[in-house]
């Protein structure tokens, strides 16, 4: 299945977007968690504070659906 991951700031550089400035298209087996997907593409999940999709916060145990667009929110520069 295909998942679209979006990120800004330094996380974007490590995501290596290939669809537009912020977005990378990832082909992945079904049933993988976001954490597993990130690890599979070389992005440390510890640098993602949470994922955001369909207006809701998700943790990294979330299992995406085919075609889903997910924003990866890095930690803030301090609260």
């Amino acid at each position: 299945m295909i998942v679209y991951l979006k990120a800004g700031t330094q996380l974007r550089e490590h995501l290596k977007p290939d669809v537009d400035y912020y977005t990378r298209k990832v082909e992945t087996p079904e049933g993988m968690t976001l954490k597993q997907i990130l690890e599979s593409i070389g992005v440390n999940p510890g640098f993602v504070a949470f994922a955001y999709t369909d207006g809701k916060m998700k943790n990294l145990e979330y299992i995406p659906n085919d075609g889903e667009k997910i924003t990866l929110q890095p930690p803030v520069s301090g609260g």
Partner: protein, 639 residues
């Protein structure tokens, strides 16, 4: 002159009621940039080194910086400054909202208060008309309550800052409130305002700000607005603000839990960002000219207690009044946020003070008898409410805690100093540094005590190794220059930190407003000057070598993290010492933590070296000389 400045500085002597409008010292502004810089320089120049911070010889300054109100992203801040009663060093604090721009629109770059009013007053600035008005009827009101009443009395179009009973009574961690939920929290600026008997400042202004190149500034900002609209971080920020960070902090074992006893909270899902948004959120709130609306206006509904409203909790209050107090209900955290806001207490220090009290109670160092028959248990909203009532009224041992955790620990003794989680008298921000050594170094070396706003390194620690302290000093120093630069400009740093607006773009905005042509490196140099000025000021006031004051509480190296993902982790005292040695060397300070003449002269601050030498605390020359460049921008190798 079209340079973004109004050209007028207000000096108000509260002892004799004299109000003077003077030309703004533009050279001073040029050299120190305004905002945090100008308050530091004025305090350094005008406050006698032995002045009581709550006495007539301290000054109290309000200013908006170059970027505030001038059509720039996040240009909303107002800066307060004085010698801090909490740290006995230079203190400053800022807040968003609308007051900074209003001050500029009224025609004033700076307001400098001296002396003490014989009776409670509020300052009313209505464009050119400046009055000291009787505030007797407002004295004693809560911060939020007072703003509400003043808005009714003066009009909704006044921007108003208030103190609560906490500031009136000289509680050292008192804050200044504005816009029903924005606070200038740190360093006790509310106590200084209260010591001068100023209950409130009300400002209304509708003049234009003349800038150097309006057309280019407009295009510059418009382009930024378009880019940030598309930024992936914008929508989650708008929905959650900083509260989303609670879970991440907990998962990565930096969450202060039960007075920093541990770093992972088992009930985090009851008080995190999602619970705030689903259970308590009423509406989002934004500052002047900002479309990020990170503010979250919330309602707390608790059986047996009145329903209250508060802006927040943002991350810091959420952490320090949530897991740090063992709270299990987001409504309780919002309620605590409201109590602290209306009393006019810094919610960060307030959380730290309460957590310290809870641990003292847990250990039997304070008892029910001390607490008027009450307890001070983890997670008890009733205990919190009663305790804060004791503190704000300074009843019994409440008076001990009114000075913050350092002073409370001095009174309580019995080893409690170990877990009074503060540096230089200011309570720690909402991150535990035992498994984030750069963060610990940031706390140790911040000029205003343990405040993350000067430097925040958790992701650096994670990338570089959480159990090594190598190389942290240079990164901390760079952050201590770039982050406070936003306080000098009076601009919110979130557009930089979260939405990819570069420091170069901020510098460009500054130049378009002022007509200057400073690079970002030149701006960072100004920030470095301010940093060192504050260090010199601190040493002269506190009459000891700098190293004396740069240690965290002993829990930081004696207690390894006992539970959660960070179990067993922590730094040693040797690592703490080594980090300080490295930091001083990279700063151009000697081993005692004192700035050297070579460094100060390199910064064009020979005057500060002369003064420091007279005080006996000038740093010794460094073997091999000072580093040519102090601080290094972090370039992450890999995530």
């Amino acid at each position: 002159m079209a340079d973004g400045f109004t050209g007028t500085t207000l000096r108000i002597n509260l002892s004799n009621g004299e109000i003077k409008k003077l030309p703004t010292d533009r050279k001073l502004m040029r050299d120190w940039y305004g905002g945090r810089g100008i308050v530091a320089k004025i305090c350094y120049d005008e406050v006698p080194r032995d002045a009581d911070p709550l006495g007539p010889d301290n000054v109290f300054i309000i200013t908006s910086g170059i970027l505030s109100g001038a059509f720039t992203p996040g240009g909303s801040k107002v800066e307060f400054g004085s010698v801090s009663p909490l740290t006995n060093g230079q203190g400053d604090s800022n807040m968003g909202g609308h007051l900074g721009p209003a001050l500029k629109f009224a025609g004033f770059d700076l307001v400098i208060f001296s002396g003490i009013s014989p009776k409670p007053v509020y300052i009313c600035i209505d464009n050119d008309k400046v009055e000291i008005r009787d505030a007797t009827k407002y004295w004693g009101m809560g911060s939020l309550d007072c703003e509400h009443v003043l808005k009714q009395d003066l009009g909704e179009d006044f921007e108003i800052a208030t103190i609560g009973p906490s500031g009136e009574r000289g509680i050292l961690f008192s804050c200044i409130s504005h816009d029903f939920g924005r606070q200038a929290g740190r360093t006790g600026q509310g106590a200084v305002m209260g010591s001068k008997k100023i209950k409130a400042i009300a400002v209304r202004g509708n003049k234009a700000i003349k800038v150097h190149n309006l057309e280019a500034l407009y295009k510059h900002t418009y382009d930024i607005i378009q880019r940030t609209k598309e930024h992936p971080n914008m929508e989650p920020w708008q929905k959650y603000g900083t509260s989303f960070f609670i879970r991440w902090s907990n998962d990565n074992a930096v969450m202060p839990t039960r007075n920093f006893q541990t770093t992972w909270y088992e009930d985090v899902e009851k008080i995190d960002g999602e619970s705030l948004v689903t259970k308590c959120l009423v509406t989002h709130k934004a500052c002047f000219g900002c479309w990020m609306n990170c503010g979250k206006y919330s309602k707390a509904v608790i059986e047996g207690k009145k329903t209250v409203f508060a802006e927040g909790p943002e991350y810091e209050t959420g952490a320090l009044c949530g897991p740090n107090l063992g709270m299990h209900d987001i409504n309780h955290v919002v309620y605590i946020n409201y109590l602290l806001d209306n009393y006019g207490m810094d919610s960060m220090s307030g959380g730290g003070v309460m957590a310290f009290a809870m641990e003292c109670f847990e250990k039997g160092l304070i008892t029910e008898k001390d607490l008027e028959g009450h307890t001070m248990k983890w997670g008890s909203i009733d205990d919190v409410e009663h305790f804060l009532d004791m503190v704000v009224n300074q009843r019994g041992i409440g008076a001990w805690f009114a000075g913050g955790t350092r002073k409370a620990a001095e009174k309580i003794g019995k080893g409690s100093e170990k877990f009074a989680m503060q540096v230089k008298g200011q309570e720690m921000s909402g991150y535990d540094g035992r498994w984030a050594p750069g963060m610990l170094l940031s706390y140790m070396t911040a000029d205003i005590g343990a405040h993350h706003n000067r430097s925040w390194t958790i992701t650096v620690d994670m990338a570089e190794g959480r159990e090594t302290t190598e190389g942290r000093a240079k990164i901390v120093i760079y952050l201590q220059h770039i982050r406070p630069l936003f306080d000098t400009w009076c601009s919110c740093r979130l557009f930089w930190g979260e939405l990819d607006i570069t420091p170069e773009e901020y510098a460009e905005a500054m130049n378009l407003i002022t007509g200057w042509s400073d690079t970002i490196d030149q701006a960072l140099k100004v920030s470095e000057k301010i940093w060192n000025l504050n260090r010199c000021h601190y040493l002269e006031r506190n009459k000891a070598n700098g190293r004396t004051f740069d240690y965290p509480p002993a829990r930081s190296w004696e207690d390894k993290i006992p539970s959660g993902p960070g179990k067993g982790k922590g730094v040693s005292l040797e690592q703490v010492e080594a980090m300080l040695d490295d930091y001083y060397r990279e700063r151009g300070w000697d081993k005692n933590g004192n700035p050297s003449r070579a460094l100060l002269e390199d910064l064009g601050m020979g005057f500060a070296a002369d003064n420091l030498e007279k005080s006996g605390f000038l740093g010794k020359p460094l073997e091999g000389g000072i580093p040519k460049v102090r601080g290094e921008k972090y370039k992450p190798k890999a995530f």
